[in-house]
Amino acid sequence: MRSPTARQDEAKPVRVEPTSTGRSPVVGIGLRRVRDAARTSVHPRRALRNGGATAQRPGFRLALPGLGLYSVFVAYPAVATAYYAFTNWNGLAQHWHFVGLKNFVSVLSSGLERTAFTNTLEATVGIALGANILGLAIALLLQKRSRFNYVLRLLWFLPAALPSIVAGYIWTFIYSPSGPLDKVWVLLHLGAAPGFLGSPNEALPSIIAIAIWQVSGYAMVLLLAGLQAIDEQLHEAARVDGAGVLQRLRFVTLPLLRPAFAVSFVFSTVTGLLLFDVVVATTNGGPGYATETLATQLYKQSFEYNNFGWGMAMGVLMGILVLGVSAAMLWIFNRKEARA
């Protein structure tokens, strides 16, 4: 019917003849079959197996430019800095010596670090769930092509384009005891307004809300891109089969959004695990230690307490944590897909 790939079809010297597996005529085959068709048509391993006989595989030299720059300016500094984690360098002195794993033991046994760890986990879960749910809702509402939706997309993305230091400054006033949220509370007769950033119990949720406000724009952009990659015919087929809006969301849209979700979840999770800017711009870890995170601790130890070695040990442990969590997430998303 449509031939969106026509551009490749005609391109010279490459001539492409799409095989039939790529676009099965899915109209009128039942909801479950629609789902299966969707997965079959795009699942990479299956696809690899199908075309494997004739395909050439790209060589490692294609990976070199990207890997090269990354190795020099990201991997090398990360490894080089890990060296200090095994020293007692204070960050200033000309001399230091090796202390083995002492810094790591000290990080893991510190009570404050445990507080920072639980705070970070709470923030991570809150941000990942909040930003993705909000981002999905907005992406679904704004996916239609219209001028109105373009403007709204831009507006929902704007908070993400705002630097954290500025977001923190504005939100400090929005949360302040005489600020607009307080007035809303009075207006709606909700009783005494919460202390927000000033209260040990509410400061962390208040910061999480700011982070969700910023990260949901990123989630929206990723999920919008994901929605564009969903085959319209699958919806058409499901609709012909009498599936309602919610059913189509549940059985067609969400499963097919999984790749976009994988990225969006990893991104928001990493943002949560490394949460730093917003905290510094609002509470700087306070009141008391209520909003200390792993990243604020790393920064304070390395650059404010002159415990550089200690801070770097913290950095190594955080690196392992973040890598572990994000790799696990990707694995889970991949596995679900493979199994389906």
């Binding site: 969106p4 551009r7 490749q8 490459v14 001539r15 492409v16 095989t19 795009v42 391993r45 690899l48 199908n50 075309g51 395909a55 595989r57 790209p58 294609l62 990976a63 430019p65 990207g66 720059l69 990354y70 020099v72 300016f73 990201v74 991997a75 500094p77 990360a78 800095t81 373009y150 709204l152 831009l154 507006l155 929902w156 704007l158 993400a160 384009a161 630097p163 504005i170 006033f173 600020g179 406000w213 891109a225 929605l227 564009q228 990659a229 969903i230 085959d231 319209e232 919806h235 809006v245 849209t253 990225v263 990893v266 730093f276 990243a295 790393l298 801070g311 913290m314 955080m318 690196g319």
Partner: protein, 294 residues
């Protein structure tokens, strides 16, 4: 034909069924109004910062949330001249454009290798790149600085391009990888059969198919690069190539900050980001036609 494709997605009301009844129109209108109100509430903090850029520093300190008594443009002139924003905008733009180009080109090629090679080495490469997400910027600061120093790149905008290009590689590889995994391989195979090389396949098959994800990568990265402050301050702070945030935040002091000037600078600085975002979103829809729709 193209009208059909843009109605893609689950939550969209059934097209072509029921026509355009008045009821439906009213429903759409109410829905739109609700959505618009929610959106305004959501972005109100941003509007607040724009509003603050028209007020004097003293007025902001006295009552940050009050309505402005008089609008003044003096913050904009201060931010422009004292902050040297004109030049900063130029360098921020050059840095953002070059970095995003690198991220889309190199990120795509690297993801293509990882997904289509699919062997153990490719998995190792993926894990290795993912590790770049894991280490917080402050912990990498010192070796990075020493490295740039030995390359004589401190105070040179190339250092920021290299840094951004490298640092944001993991996220763009991740985005491309996820979308590439869902792409049918048949088109590529057919091209190989016809004797095309990897680069030709990339250019004629993969790049067009991945266009929506390229838009996502560019939209996300432009903002991140534009606002990044922590490392650019160290790399080009004090030089004539300082980026916009590096210039704007010089108005933050030990005990006081000239927020009027900061917000004015910010308002000027966010305009290019908005323009780029609008252009990219248009391409997101145009790109649909070239996407993987089968």
């Amino acid at each position: 034909m193209s009208a059909i494709s843009v109605w893609a997605g689950g939550a969209v009301p059934a097209r072509g069924r029921g026509g355009h009844s008045i009821q439906r129109r009213v429903g759409t209108l109410v829905g739109r109004a609700g959505l618009a109100i929610a959106t305004v509430a959501f972005v109100s903090p941003v509007l607040l910062s724009v509003e603050m850029s028209f007020r004097s520093n003293t007025a902001i300190n006295v009552a940050p949330l009050a309505w402005p008594k008089s609008l003044s443009l003096s913050n904009f002139t201060t931010a422009w001249s004292a902050g040297g924003l004109g030049q900063a905008l130029l360098w921020s733009a050059v840095i953002a454009v070059v970095s995003v180009m690198w991220l889309t080109v190199a990120g795509q090629v690297l993801a293509y290798y990882i997904v289509r090679r699919g062997n153990r080495l490719a998995s190792v490469a993926l894990l290795y790149v993912m590790a770049g997400l894991a280490f917080p910027a402050p912990s990498r600061l010192l070796p990075l600085y020493e490295l740039m120093l030995s390359l004589h790149l401190i105070g040179n905008p190339i250092s920021v391009m290299l840094f951004q290009g490298a640092t944001l590689t993991p996220l763009s590889v991740l985005i491309y990888r996820s979308f590439l995994q869902r792409m049918p391989i048949e088109y590529e195979d057919a091209a190989y059969v016809d004797g095309a090389g990897h680069l030709q396949v990339l250019r004629h098959v993969v790049v067009p198919m991945l266009w929506p994800s390229s838009v996502a990568v560019a939209s996300l990265k432009i903002g991140m690069i534009w606002n990044d402050f922590f490392t650019p301050l160290l790399l080009v702070g004090g030089s004539t190539y300082a980026t916009v945030p590096v210039k704007i935040y010089t108005f933050v002091g030990q005990y006081t900050a000239q927020w009027g000037d900061i917000f004015a600078g910010l308002t000027l600085a966010v305009i290019p980001v908005i323009i780029v975002f609008i252009l990219l979103q248009r391409h997101l829809v145009e790109g649909l036609g070239a996407g993987l729709k089968g």
